[in-house]
Amino acid sequence: MIPRLWRSWVTWCGREEDLRPQTWVRILVPLTILLDQANVLRLGLLPWFVVPWSAGGLSSSQDPMYVMGHVMPAEVAGYVTWTLMIVSLLLVLFGIANRPACLIAVLSYAQLGHLHPGGDRAIDRILRMVLLIWMFSDAGSGRPTARMGKAWPADFIRFLLVIIYLAAGIGKVAKQPGWLTMVEPPVLYRVVTDPMAAHMDAVALEPWFPVLHFFGLCTIALELSAPLLLTRFAPWWALCGAGMHIGIFLTMDLGMFSWGMLALYPLLFAPWIVGRRHADGAR
């Protein structure tokens, strides 16, 4: 029984699939990070982020894993790291030297996070994890055209998304049971009118409590049903998930969070991208 199950697992992990969704993720993930960095440049914030406080920057505490500041002067280490990250992300985006480029992108991106821990958010960590896994993807070069390659990197990211959404849903209900009740004001109202993280008008939203209750319940239902991502219902789930992320983008100031998550959605829309026959073969 166990050897048979193990053989099935190994066969499943070793199977191939159409690489178009993986290629889209390889393009969209670095593109999202690059656009985020372009925004940092546009706002003139780069000199403040790539230099520690002691050398004139913003962040007064660095993670002990920040090593670039020990191998070169603090004033230039951040700029060098940032340039390494940008160049390696461009290489990943254009499908050139994918493996070393992914590794250097993740390490330099992580170094910037160690340098400025306050600005390194959950989405940065998720996208780094994806780049790390994409080192092993066969979609490391070329355009998103039909060709076959290893399926496991996509399977693993889908599994990771299940863990992320499920943990977020369980965490919400465990910390604030109000998500499931008609408590007033609705928890979602508090979230989207938080002056520090969102930008919805608290007064204007007051008549919309029933709608916010409904969307709050939808959020929990969506997050707790994330295991559907491992079934043939994944694209339908992803449609609702995309709606949630667009809603977050419209109501909150979380920067690239929504776009970073949506950059992974080609994996969830895989059956619709490659056609039903290929996708069924892949599952």
């Binding site: 406080w53 002056p195 993280a197 690239m256």
Partner: protein, 183 residues
Amino acid sequence: MLYGLVLVLGTPGFDAIPGNALRKPGHADQVRERIGEPGLALARLVVALNTDLRLPLARNVDWIQRPFRVSQNWTLYEDGPGNYWTMEVLIDGVLRHRSLDPDYDWLTTEIRSRKLRPMMEAVVQEPKAENAKGLVRYMGTKAARDFPGAARVELRALKGPWPGKKQKIERTYIGDAPDWKLR
């Protein structure tokens, strides 16, 4: 192996279990009262799995994540604020910025950008936040550019019960030109 690693490090829901769950005096009785004896037995099993199996395993493999900075607890926006916090920035005593107030929107785009907003949030909400000195220096430098001759920047954190409109000043950070060091 990868799947096992992710499951051990990020088991959904297990992050929410406090380290001293069911160990505090009376806690087990509270749980029994709420979900009954079978529920308490199940809770004991989950807590034991977490503290005796998952956490020791997670501690042993956690080092793999550090150079790549990929560890996290996957708890994303669980709740709204328990209190209503806003930030005000005054330059030489004149109000120039207030959270979500279009009449006082100096530096709003920068302050609410993804990299700066979490820092500003921490400085406002946490007592003696380490990054206050960096934030005040940043604002002072920008004030010197936008308001020539600016000599003092004052960052105020206001707090009030939620929902509600009445807030009071919780803490203030002041920096003076030319180096904008905190007082």
